[in-house]
């Protein structure tokens, strides 16, 4: 039976793993390669590396760490951040990444999704979506340039509409980051994930909000997501992956032991 995936996310800045709260105040957690290796050995099903500065700085970012990861890691991994063209994506895939994840550049030029699908196949093309619940409008809205607080802005897209748009253009997987929940460890945004699940025919990965092991059980049981992504609970040792997997298996969730 296909297993639900546990996906530690490593936010990368200048070759170091960092973590902020609600996208702000980043602190250094450690070096990428040993951390990646530790997670792979601990039982992570997949890793995501998010170059959080790349999309908003407009500078050329050194991605040589991608190859250093590919050399040591024997589980799939995805690289996100600063991939604006088919050529950018091609370089990262050549260095050994299994997937590339696109966020702001897809909002600026949605055709990029079609181009990536055509060049590398649907399975490589992950679309990251930063979604924020706007209390006044009562709607989930897509945000852009979330790596840099001064440039972060709301787009014209409602989250559900953007999901349908990226699927029609050939996305192979969606990572939905629920910004209200990010880094505050109060649980995944089940209501939003359920609503997106209804319109999402490809794998859907929940992101933002994991604080306890029960939150993982809840998101798999209630929102039927294919994977759950988390950062701080793993980096800070609040949740051990082996222990989490044992609990999920005991709760009847399909998990790779």
């Amino acid at each position: 039976m296909l297993a639900k995936r546990l996906i530690p996310c490593l936010d990368v800045r200048d070759g170091k793993v960092v973590k902020g709260v609600q996208f702000r105040n980043h602190e250094i957690i450690g070096d990428i390669v040993p951390l990646a290796q530790r997670y792979a050995e601990a039982g992570a099903d997949e890793l995501v590396f998010y170059d959080i500065t790349a999309s908003s700085d407009g500078r050329v970012v050194d991605k040589s760490w991608v190859q250093r990861i590919a050399e040591v890691i024997d589980i799939p991994f995805c690289v996100a951040g600063g991939i604006k063209t088919v050529a950018d994506a091609g370089k990262i895939l050549e260095m050994g990444a299994d997937k590339i994840s696109i966020n702001s550049p897809a909002l600026l030029r949605p055709e990029l999704i079609n181009e990536l699908n055509h060049s590398f196949g649907q399975q490589c093309v992950v679309i990251g979506i930063d979604s924020f619940f706007d209390v006044t409008s009562g709607q989930y809205q897509v945000y852009q340039f979330t790596g840099d607080e001064s440039r972060t802005r709301k787009t014209q897209w409602l989250t559900r509409d953007w999901v349908s748009e990226v699927l029609s253009r050939g996305a192979g997987e969606i990572v939905l980051n629920c910004m209200n929940q990010d880094g505050v460890r109060q649980g995944y945004d089940i209501a939003q994930l359920k609503s997106i699940r209804e319109v999402c025919s490809v794998p859907l990965i929940a992101s933002g909000g994991a604080g306890t092991m029960q939150h993982f059980t809840d998101v798999f049981e209630k929102a039927d997501v294919d994977g759950a992504l988390a950062a701080s609970v793993f980096h800070k040792g609040i949740i051990e992956i082996a222990e989490l997997k044992a609990k999920l298996i005991a709760d009847g969730i399909s998990i790779r032991p």
């Binding site: 039976m1 296909l2 297993a3 639900k4 995936r5 792979a40 099903d45 190859q67 590919a70 050399e71 040591v72 024997d74 589980i75 799939p76 091609g90 895939l93 050549e94 260095m95 050994g96 299994d98 590398f120 196949g121 649907q122 399975q123 490589c124 192979g172 997987e173 025919s201 490809v202 794998p203 294919d226 994977g227 790779r256 032991p257």
Partner: protein, 197 residues
């Protein structure tokens, strides 16, 4: 051990190269027919579409070479699909080393692509699968598959059964990605290195 990874221009070549390096084998990556013929073992990687991948083999004039290898040949993912007679992905003739056909997955309503870790069953006692059990998980990413037939060496279930590993004579293929399947995947690659015909 001369291991050659066929340079299909596909995206997972370096992952496959590093996976063998972790097992202590330095593979060469080549599209030179002579080098491929002279290898002890040949690996055919592949990510992308069958149509593009077959076109690349044609451009490199490698079809005939690959069809007449005597040494062990292992295809991975799309590389496995290219070993068959025909793929419905782009309606393309493949290498026809294993007379099976690649069709769109019939997942009985389950989401596609079939992406993630899944288990194997109906595991044969082929040398490539030495040490494998039904509790092992391997990593799949695909939307097309080969239906179980006499060349299936192991199967996987996702909506319906499909062939996870196929083989005939000196040729075998894995639909999953052994280079990304942790210790279980490494075992398949190690078995391939040790495979004596």
């Amino acid at each position: 051990m001369k291991l050659v990874i066929v340079d299909t221009g596909c995206a997972n070549i370096s992952s496959v190269y590093f996976a063998f390096k972790r097992l202590g084998v330095e593979a060469s990556i080549s599209r030179d027919a002579k080098a491929i013929k002279a290898a002890d073992k040949v690996l055919l990687p592949g990510v992308g579409t069958a149509h593009n991948a077959m076109a690349k083999l044609q451009q490199a004039e490698l079809i005939d070479t690959l069809q007449h290898l005597q040494q062990p040949l292992l295809g991975i993912c799309l590389g496995m699909q290219m070993l068959t007679a025909h793929s419905m992905e782009g309606d393309v003739a493949c290498l026809n080393l294993i007379p099976s056909e690649v069709r769109p997955m019939q997942s009985a309503g389950l989401r596609l692509p079939h992406m993630g870790w899944n288990t194997l069953h109906s595991i044969s006692n082929h040398p490539l699968l030495r040490g494998f059990s039904v509790t092992d998980y391997v990593y799949f990413v695909h939307s097309f598959a080969v239906a179980p037939d006499e060349y299936s060496l192991a199967q996987c279930h996702y909506g319906t059964d499909f062939a996870a590993v196929i083989g005939k004579d000196n040729v075998a293929g894995a639909q999953f990605h052994p280079e990304r399947s942790g210790k279980t995947g490494a075992r398949l690659l190690q078995n391939f290195l040790e495979w004596q015909l």
